[in-house]
Amino acid sequence: MGFFTDTSICIGCKACEVACKEWNQLEGNKPELLLDSFDNTGQLDAQNWRHVQFIEQIPDNNGVVMNPTPIAGGQAWLMMSDVCKHCQNASCLEVCPTNAIVRTEYDSVFIQQDVCNGCRDCISACPYGVIGFNEKTGTAHKCTLCYDRLQNGLQPACAKACPTESIKFGYLDDLQAAADKRLAALQTAGYKKAQLYGRDAKVYGGLNAFFLLMDEPEVYKLPSAQNATLPSRNNLAGYAGGFVTAVVGLVAGVLAFRSQRMNEKTDATR
């Protein structure tokens, strides 16, 4: 099961953020003036399991649109309710040394709070900056896909609260079919940059929370399919480099200790 977030109909109301905090009893961070459009939460973290991004593509003081879109004469105000992607090949789950991060029966990625020891390796691995460290509990936190609600036959709080149905929850097959239909309609209407992100296996084997975007993924702070790589890509090269260094280091050491020893022997013979 998963989410399909259609950013083309997100109105930035933040009902998802509020519903998430309410249900999961998240206190939220201390309010800050971020001076970033209508954003007042900043990023996904231990207190923000949903985060509405506001991306302003409007003319600067010289009337130039930096990243023109096919929408409204090149101007756009993009909004996206971001969330944990519950990746099929999850970087966090891959590196977690304690097996605190598991895949549930709903195919979601879940951090077991009673097992996590707060090493924060998952935070360094997550390519989306989803996971945050909670100072009070000393553990890592992120969206649970409302695991407790699912167990009781309810849909996640954010999807329930979304007034425009930008956030849809359901079986992936159904969501993918709906996404394909919506994308086709937008492209027919002239939105050439509209695209699905994470619908197929190109990004981390497919995302259980995938998106319909109105611009390139990077605009929404999402790595492109080409850059969406697992941390383990560096395992083999890293260890091989270490092994070769160890061998060369040993040879360098042996040369130093043996050569001087030979010199001493030669001196003694003379």
Partner: protein
Amino acid sequence: MPPAEHFAAPPNWEWWILAYFFFGGISGGSYAIGTLLRLVGTPADQRAARIAFIASFVALLPCPLFLIADLGQPLRFINMLLDASGGGLSFKPWSPMSLGSWALLGFGLFSFVSFLGAVADGGWHAADPIARILRGTIGAVWNVIGTGLGFFVCGYTGVLLAVSNQPVWSDGWPLGGVFLASSLTGAAALLLLLARSRRDVDAGTSVRLELADRNFVVLEVVLIAVFLVTVAVAGTIGKMSGVWLLLWLVVILGLAAPFAFTRVDAARRWAPVTAPILALLSVLALRALVIFSAQT
């Protein structure tokens, strides 16, 4: 290849981790040099080998404490080794942190036993039986296995950083090798410092350690260059510039010290103490540079 894109949040690994990377590296490097001195050195080198094994264990002692202190839930440190959710052992070979936890445990055993052997050789007779065993072939095998584990402890920390999605760290796969070479450089510098402070260490041993130190520095310089190329290709080298150039300066001074001090007459009399201290600071600065620059 397109430039790397990074949207990952920093894990806030800071001073405890820096301290662990430094002491862990010195410990592993000291053990390796101790083994080299024991197996290929002269009889006169054996005193320095003893110092190396003692230094290795002493440097290793605070390492688990640093790691535990860094955890959000320190009392759950055992979850690194035992699976608290499924039972059994928690062992994930593809996770450097998991593998490193086991390597640290294994190396701790080897370093401790070698330490006991070394102090017995120094006159603490309660550990004589261990020292007797370690003097023969079994001791050589023990040292070789311990060196393998020690090298792992030196280098896996770099692999741990590389196996992430952080800028700089994940762009520089040679980090494991860089940290390993740097550990050897730092350990050689520390042993030089300790050897020169004791009159019972043979002067020839110090000369051999100096030569080894210079060889390790050459290896480290090559690896740092490869690391910088990989980071430059990924387009994230800018993260290590600006204020971090000060730490680069410390790194360069430490790397140049073993060569410069022996060639400049005016500096030669300061060399015995100053060059190793600069080298140790360089080891610390390199790790600080890599750890902190990527997270800002």
